[in-house]
Symmetry: C2
Subunit: 329 residues, 2 copies
């Protein structure tokens, strides 16, 4: 091919141009890299620095039970509209590290070290990417948990079941804490996923953290510049946040939607992860109408990395307009 | 605030929760990082690995001359619609490093080392980010240039004016080469920007590279798996590419649009950078109609990093749907 190309060019171009080297050097065949760039991303909110730190992804086959109130063909149509493969679902995870200048705050902790092993490195990457971003978990002052699903709480413990943020106060939504720690709720929970979540939460918070947590209410400044916002439905105590500094603000939505290509586009769809689908949908519409009206930037835990964007109305749903990546800060 | 919060929570929550530590440790006040993540991103096209390597950005005040055939109010409306600041233009630069397994290919080279100094590190970052991605410029076999604007060719030379890719063959569009090396064209070029471009190109290709380049024609496989595509207007020899491996394909658009938030949304707008605005617009519409019809992924040099996406029709223009960031490869 080299010869053919050079021959064609030499003939057609009508002028002489000397190749730099008569023969290609033996420097070629550089090995193909097997690692993605460390997936963290920094931005400022007023005086505060946010670092989005990817925990990786989970890719699984689309089952009809994933969105019980949507037709499979409609889900596939939404996937195709978003240029995602049919019959597959991709879910991304993005905890945050927030440096207020005085406090180092983590919001949600990803799938944890055991999931890293079980997923063969597809997720559970928060600790690795946090280290790549230059953060030492020992320096974290406050860990804020939005709700008690495995992809948010499992990173609270190391592979050995010890606190992953040994010097941090762990803040949890009071309503969430009450629900998952209630023995009656646990005994009434359906077998399977819900029973598994109860057991997992007991393991994390009782065996791991020895119940050393600080529950928080909604509508309070629970950490410097960080105000909790009630966004229930996904779980009984599901919480979002407003991070504000000066006139700058970002709405940290947690799981108000999962992947926005499915659930912002179709706010009426109820993911199987939503404990109360009707309430979750009401919350989703209320919050998205609010962020649209206020032109408020949104940071989404399950948005594709780095997960910062604005929301616009689009047809019967919403669309996330990703913020342009800033290559220098 | 800590006391207030704890007091409020202790009263309201109705249960006891012990804080992990009675007093916050002195580990806080981690310094706020002053560096963005190294901005490179890898993806596969069939068996081939593409690494998008950011060269940084250029942010400047919107002048009426920037888009001579658009009203300032309309440009500001487009900026607002894209959640970008009014009266400011942000331009991003993203050269590519393509590893075919046999050859290491660079497409376009960014603003170069001198611009890094002049812009105080806002751009000219290709060499740094390429190193962060693990590439040694000495191992590059082929450098492909799309057209002869400074942000594409200046990275061909080091700060000392030496070839930045000392072992690489440099491929240039034959028509582009002919135009910029033609003394008649140079003498007839308007003073100011066009004269400056001619001088810059003479410096790069004559003083720096000693004319050691290989011109290429359109519609040829100019490097393994890389086919040149005529997309003139932006410059007389402006070139795009199809990178194909197996059934996978990506369209590397070069400067068919600049920032898509302005020029995909409004394909009729003529950026001052477009040497022949009418021809550039025709090319833009032709190419975008093609990539929409073929659902072909597009890699854009001036798209916000990492610059991979699909194009959809939207109103009277087009909209880029960014590909979801893959945190593991």
């Amino acid at each position: 091919m080299e010869l053919t190309r050079r021959h064609a060019l030499a003939g057609a171009a009508g002028f002489v141009a000397a190749p730099l080297l008569p023969a290609a050097p033996a420097s070629s065949a550089a090995p193909i890299a097997d690692k993605q760039a460390p997936s963290f991303y920094r931005y400022k909110v007023g005086d505060i620095q946010v670092t989005v730190v990817s925990d990786g992804k989970n890719v699984f086959k689309l089952e009809d039970s994933f969105i019980p109130n949507a037709k499979r063909d409609d889900v596939n149509a939404a996937l195709e509209k978003a240029f995602m493969p049919r019959d597959m679902v991709s879910i991304y995870f993005a905890p945050l590290v927030i440096n207020t200048g005085g406090k180092l705050i983590v919001i949600d902790t990803g799938n944890g070290a055991l999931s890293k092993a079980n997923s063969k490195g597809a997720n559970g990457l928060f600790a690795d990417n946090m280290a790549a971003a230059g953060f030492d978990p020992k320096n974290v002052d406050i860990v804020v948990i939005s709700h008690f699903h495995t992809d948010h709480v499992n990173g609270l413990l190391t592979a050995e079941g010890m606190p992953a943020f040994p010097n941090a106060e762990v803040l949890v939504p009071a309503t969430e804490w009450k629900f998952w720690m209630d023995d009656g709720e646990m005994s009434r929970a359906p077998a399977g996923r819900m029973q598994g979540l109860f057991k997992n939460n007991r393991n994390i918070f009782e065996a791991g953290l020895k119940k050393k947590v600080t529950p928080y209410e909604w509508g309070k400044e629970i950490a410097p510049s960080l105000t909790s916002v009630e966004t229930v439905g996904h779980t009984p105590g599901h919480t979002s946040y407003v991070l504000a500094s000066g006139s700058a603000k970002v709405f940290i939505q947690s799981d108000v939607t999962n992947n926005p290509n499915l659930f912002a586009t179709n706010p009426g769809w109820h993911a199987s992860f939503d404990q109360d689908g009707d309430v979750a949908e009401k919350t989703r519409r209320r919050i998205y109408d609010m962020v649209v009206a206020e032109r408020l930037q949104v940071q989404g835990f399950h948005y594709p990395f780095p997960g910062l964007g604005n929301v616009v109305k689009d047809g019967n749903g919403y669309r996330v307009v990703p913020a342009s990546w800033n290559p220098v800060i």
